[in-house]
């Protein structure tokens, strides 16, 4: 599949006399294929918004290359801007204009037909409230308006930063359906979000960023598989047999952690091996459960941002990857 969005070695450094130098982006890479819903994840301050702003020409990069729809950006941004719809960070609109006025002014600036305004208002569920001033809107309604403004151009690439922020559960589900429908219609969607359950549900692929560098990349299933530890939980009919079972499994080369009522096994290729070893010892299982990883646990592991009791993690306290990215890209390189 051709790449709609390519970023290679993107660097952005902020220099301040008081706070010194901070690398917001430190050789960041990203690759998004056409027609995908791509999740863009990272802890607060990891460089997500800086990446999106840089990609959209709002921030000047210090190094690296970017392209959108095959055009190098920011140089060719004026040529591709009409095909890219975006919202960056929280939605911001002039509070005294109505939603319709807001969209109408954007449509005028972008030479979009007026009829498209009604279409997008309908899509995001704001048709009935379109005449009201934006200052009367809730955060969720502003979010819907922001998505409407991004959809106004009927873009080929849609970039949404935290689109579910402030939405009620019904709104989140509607947004999820909308994203899927848009992707099915051929639109490529890049979605930045902290609601990892949502990302896992609707995204085809993800990029995880930490401290300005990519720490994971690829289809969601592959990223999960690569970070699955092969852990298995074992329970026996008799709890008193656990030490015996632990000894037998350890002898067979399995890493065992003993808990009061179960064993946790690591490095198990095939769960059938466990049943065979224990059966040979006359020990019988009441539970043998592979531990599935979800995107949240992978994210917390990769970014080292899992909460630790008694500690207060600070922003920027996450993992730095100095070597090659731990998960291999599924697509080709720059310009492939």
């Amino acid at each position: 599949m051709p790449a709609v969005l390519e970023i290679e070695g993107l660097r952005k450094t902020y220099r301040s006399r008081r706070r010194g130098t901070r690398n917001a982006l430190d050789g960041f890479d990203m690759w998004v294929e056409a027609g995908q819903v791509h999740g863009f994840l990272g802890p607060n301050g990891s460089g997500k918004t800086t990446t999106l702003r840089t990609l959209l020409g709002l921030i000047r990069p210090d190094g690296g290359r970017m392209s959108i729809l095959g055009h190098p950006v920011p140089t060719a941004l004026p040529q591709v801007a009409g095909q890219v719809g975006a919202i960056v960070e929280s939605p911001q609109f002039f509070p005294y204009f109505s939603a319709r006025d807001t969209l109408s002014l954007l449509a005028g600036a972008g030479e979009v037909p007026e009829q498209r305004i009604d279409e997008v208002l309908e899509l995001v569920g704001l048709r009935e409230r379109a005449g009201e001033r934006v200052k009367t809107y809730s955060l969720g309604m502003k979010q819907r308006l922001a998505v409407a403004s991004a959809l106004l151009k009927n873009p080929r690439l849609l970039i949404l930063d935290e689109p579910a922020n402030g939405l009620d559960p019904g709104g989140i589900r509607e947004m999820r359906t909308l994203m899927r429908n848009l992707a099915e219609s051929g639109m490529t969607v890049v979605l930045s979000s902290h609601i990892l359950g949502e990302i896992q549900l609707i995204c085809d692929s993800v990029t995880i960023i930490s401290l300005g560098r990519r720490v994971a990349f690829g289809p969601v299933d592959e990223v999960l598989a690569q970070h699955s530890s092969g852990a298995v939980r074992v329970r026996l009919e008799a709890v008193t047999d656990l030490p015996l079972a632990a000894t037998a499994l350890t002898r067979a080369g399995v890493r065992v952690t003993t808990n009061p009522d179960h064993l946790m096994l690591a490095g198990v290729d095939k769960p059938a091996t466990v049943t065979r070893i224990l059966a040979e010892q006359g020990l019988y299982l009441s539970e043998l459960a592979p531990i599935a990883v979800d995107l949240e646990s992978v994210f917390l592991e990769l970014t080292n941002t899992a909460p630790v009791p008694g500690q207060h993690r600070q922003v920027d306290q996450s993992v730095r990857v100095d070597g090659p990215a731990p998960s291999a890209p599924t697509g080709g390189g720059w310009g492939a």
Partner: protein, 337 residues
């Protein structure tokens, strides 16, 4: 072109633009109403009344002089040493009747030929004020509400966006200033017709007035450009407004006091309002009364410095190049976060 039309629409839709314009026009309306109420047409009746008032004033003067002369003679006879009386009390004489002119007692009247030119200054001042605050707010509010960022996602050419916005502000201001100036002329003409005189208004007078009107509009455009540029530089409307207040309070009043204390010659030449006034008046003559011991009897003439509209235009050009250049440079270079 679509961006320009859209920005004009945006300008017209903004409440601040509408309220500021309405407030400015209301002030102009009040000035016209005040001018109308405070002036009268001069006819035989008013002249006769003025003559009666002058006669009455003359009689009062005669009565007062006689009283003073009597007091003087009484004081001299009593041998009092009163230094405010002359040596010879006969020197206390009433003024000649001709010295008290009837025209001093005529009611205020609006002479179009003499008064219209000066009345262009409040119009230009109000238009400049509207231009400055609306220009500053138009771009300042866009920055502070995130509208500029939204627009740049649609139109990534930053300088084009900023200059188009400026063009929309200036066009909108001209669309207000041209009819406002025409209405102002019309109102002054009507006041002169009903409450004054429209005599001696030649084509030359009209030409001069027209040029003053044009200079007033240019002043408003300059103010709008400066407000726009300052707010864009600071990304806040308050930057422009605060900057102007700072310049006026600290720069102008402070500099004025400092220059006066240092007895600098032609201190007004260092003050910005002098140049705005010079622009409207075409030229002004500053006088240095410290240059010699000048007196009313005319021992010598003070040294003068003539400022012309060319000096003002050079200053305006420099201010625009500096502020707008900095705003464009910042727009091109700075990150938009």
């Amino acid at each position: 072109m679509s961006l320009f039309r859209t920005e004009l629409r945006r300008l017209g839709k903004r409440r601040f633009t509408r309220w500021t314009t309405a407030a400015g026009l209301l002030v102009l309306l009040l000035i016209v109403a005040g001018l109308f109420v405070s002036n009268q047409k001069i006819g035989p009746e008013q002249r006769a009344e003025a003559r009666r008032a002058a006669d009455g004033h003359y009689r009062d003067q005669v009565r007062w002089v006689e009283q003073e002369r009597a007091d003087c003679e009484r004081a001299k006879a009593a041998g009092e040493q009163v230094d405010y009386y002359p040596v010879d009390c006969a020197e206390i004489t009433p003024p000649a009747r001709e010295a008290i002119e009837d025209q001093w007692f005529l009611p205020s009247t609006f002479d179009f030929r003499d008064g219209a030119d000066g009345m262009m200054i409040p119009l230009a001042g109000i238009l400049a004020l509207i231009g400055f605050v609306v220009g500053a707010s138009f771009v300042g509010a866009e920055w502070s509400t995130g509208g500029m960022m939204n627009l740049l996602l649609w139109r990534p050419r930053r300088l084009t966006v900023l200059l188009t916005k400026l063009a929309a502000v200036l066009t909108g201001l001209l669309a207000l200033a041209v009819p406002a100036t025409a209405l102002w002329f019309g109102s002054l003409w009507l006041i002169a017709t009903f409450r004054g005189s429209t005599e001696r208004v030649t084509s030359g007078v009209w030409q001069s007035l027209l040029l003053t009107g044009v200079r007033g509009m240019v002043l408003a455009l300059v103010a709008a450009t400066l407000g726009f540029a300052l707010a864009s530089l600071g990304r806040r409307t308050a930057t422009a407004l605060g900057g102007v207040i700072a310049v006026m309070v600290v720069g102008q009043i402070g500099i004025g006091i400092l220059l006066d204390a240092a007895q600098v010659r032609f201190a007004e030449a260092w003050l910005l309002p002098t140049y705005a006034y010079t622009w409207m008046a075409k030229s002004i003559k500053l006088e240095d009364w410290r240059s010699c011991s000048a007196s009313y009897t005319g021992e010598c003439n003070p040294t003068t410095l003539e400022l012309t509209w060319q000096h003002s235009s050079a200053l305006f050009t420099a201010a625009i190049v500096l502020c707008l250049g900095a705003a464009l440079w910042a727009m091109r270079r700075r990150d938009i976060a």
